[in-house]
């Protein structure tokens, strides 16, 4: 497998506050990585530097071998590096079909191939039974899937998911674990997930990186990480 992402010494300072300090990170194409940490640990800041919404103070980001450290959000997205936001960012007043259609048409011409792609994405995100529903009438969980569908439709190769199970029922959370595994294992997408839900992270069975106060506290399998007394101390709280 090839390397999709290589981050070296990434640091972000907002005025006097250091949000991220010296984070280095690599991942293989088609793999899943999860990031946990207490509130204010710098998880979303890290994701924002990967997506281009924040510029790092120092350090570098290599995506598919290309230095994208100073590249704009739009250019990164065109190269298949797409982000799902903490609060689902979908087109509320448009239907499920139109949401995915916009994402697909952003990068390919309209026609039968685009339509086939839309249907494919709708099936993957488990929304093919309600193409006409307005996005704002979907449940919280379905909105999360719709946004994942937008990333897929727009041609994501590396997906950054900021709290994808927020507001989900436990059934939806389980389905989301299956969805993410399916995207990585069957569709060869690379996925970075930030989450608070520890059960979700455990079920995802992906390598975990723990952030605390903007730095990497530890990395490893969920079992190892959850046994680490430092992690229990800062995050699990006992």
């Amino acid at each position: 497998m090839s390397e999709v992402l290589r981050v070296e010494g990434l640091t972000k300072k907002f005025r006097g506050i250091t949000a991220n300090e010296d984070i280095s990170f690599t991942m293989e194409a088609g793999s899943v990585r999860s990031i946990i940490g207490p509130n204010g640990a710098g998880k979303t800041t890290f994701l924002s530097m990967l997506s281009g919404h924040h510029r790092p103070t120092s350090g570098s980001i290599l995506y598919e071998g290309e230095d994208i450290t100073r590249m704009s959000v739009v250019k990164r997205a065109r190269r298949g590096l797409l982000r799902k936001f903490q609060t689902p960012a979908v087109f509320d007043e448009l239907s499920v079909w139109q949401n995915i259609e916009l994402a697909v048409l952003a990068h390919q011409a309209a026609g039968p191939r685009a339509n086939a792609r839309i249907i494919e994405v709708l099936e993957t995100i488990r929304l093919s039974d309600k193409p006409d529903a307005l996005a704002r009438f979907l449940s919280h969980g379905q909105r999360q899937w719709l946004e994942i569908g937008i990333l897929l439709g727009a041609g994501a190769r590396l997906m950054l998911l900021d709290e994808p199970t927020a507001g989900m029922t436990s059934g939806e959370t389980t389905a989301t674990v299956d969805l993410i595994r399916q995207l990585a294992d069957d569709h060869q997408r690379s996925i970075i997930v930030i989450e608070h839900d520890i059960n979700f992270i455990r079920d995802l069975k992906a390598p975990v990186m723990v952030l605390n106060l903007g730095r990497i506290l530890t990395e490893g399998d969920f079992e190892d990480v959850s046994r680490d007394p430092r992690v229990r101390d800062v995050y699990l709280g006992h």
Partner: protein
């Protein structure tokens, strides 16, 4: 399941357009004189309203600059006609005027949109465009005639060996303006249904989402603003040919505000609604200003307030709701 909402929104407007178009073709059979003379002027206003409908309705950008593009097209036509050279032919006049409106919108639009100027701040700049256009028209009086205005002769449509058709008569002028209005409407409507149109709606609904999926919204908005300017420029051209007179106030803030009122009343989300709003409200204003000179501004203002408060989607939206009430199957959600 494909696009059913889009179809629900757009199909009825084509039917309504067909009915109105046939009615408009038949009008000269029933009426002559003043009404036939004055209708093309309202059709030009309808075209101007369409230019804002494209921008405000589809992309969600409100503009108080439409008059500036309109007057650019009107002066372009007047100046080209005065030259009495090859550019004084009707097709060239139309192209020149559309180009004038296009550039007057595109150039500031490019710098503002790529510079990240959005929402209310952008609206304020469009307001300034109108002020600027009127001032320029007044100051460059050796070209424009200043407050004395510019007189424009009605041109002749030259078909080469097939002969020519003078637009001097009211009936040829009527059908000429109707043809321009209809074909521009169908072109804009067609454009809005293609990929470009979907991108416009995406920018209107959630611009940040579009950026984050790799769509450069600034370029899309710039192009839409330019196209809107081109349509307004065309409207200015047919207005100038028809009325034969262009004055600086046609580029001003007051006139731009009227365009916003027409489109709000007609229904900004419907291209046809915007056109009908332009024709109806301008016509009504003209009628009321003669019948009730003291009160017509007041009446127009009250209608505007009523629309904003009770019918946010204007006349077109109200008709759409009415159709929904009549044709809704039992159990179907609104």
């Amino acid at each position: 399941m494909n696009n059913s909402i889009m179809q629900r929104l757009t199909r009825p407007d084509l039917l309504a357009f067909g009915v109105l178009f046939i009615a408009a073709i038949l009008i000269p059979l029933f009426t002559q004189g003043y009404l036939l003379y004055v209708l093309p002027e309202y059709y030009a206003y309808g075209l101007l309203a369409l230019s804002l409908g494209l921008l405000w309705g589809q992309v969600g950008i409100l503009s108080f600059g439409q008059a500036a593009f309109f007057v650019a097209g009107a002066y372009a036509t007047g100046i080209a006609l005065q030259s009495e050279s090859w550019i004084a032919s009707v097709p060239v006049l139309l192209v020149l005027s559309a180009l004038a409106g296009f550039l007057v919108a595109l150039i500031p639009g490019y710098f503002l949109f790529t510079g990240g100027v959005r929402a209310t701040y952008f609206v304020l700049v469009t307001l300034a465009l109108s002020i600027l256009a009127e001032r320029l028209a007044v100051n460059y009086s050796d070209i424009t005639g200043g407050w004395n205005g510019m007189f424009v002769t009605r041109p002749e449509f030259d078909f080469g060996t097939l002969g020519s058709l003078s637009l001097y008569g009211d009936i040829p002028m009527y059908y000429f303006v109707l043809l321009i209005l209809s074909s521009v409407f169908l072109t804009v409507r067609g454009l809005c249904q293609r990929r470009f149109g979907r991108m416009l709606i995406g920018v209107r609904e959630n611009e940040d989402r579009m950026l984050a999926m790799g769509v450069d919204s600034a370029h899309i908005k710039t192009l839409a603003f330019g196209l809107s300017g081109a349509v307004a420029g065309l409207a200015g051209s047919v207005f100038a040919m028809h009325t034969g007179f262009v004055s600086p106030s046609l580029g001003g803030v007051l006139f731009s505000t009227e365009v916003v009122v027409w489109v709000a009343i007609g229904g900004r989300l419907s291209l046809l609604g915007a056109i009908v709003g332009g024709i109806l409200v301008a016509g009504l204003s003209n009628y009321l200003s003669a019948a009730l000179p003291d009160y017509w501004r007041l009446i127009q203002g009250l209608i505007f307030i009523a629309v904003i408060v009770f019918f946010k989607r204007g006349l077109a939206g109200a008709l759409d709701d009415l159709r929904g009430l009549v044709s809704r199957k039992p159990g179907e959600a609104t």
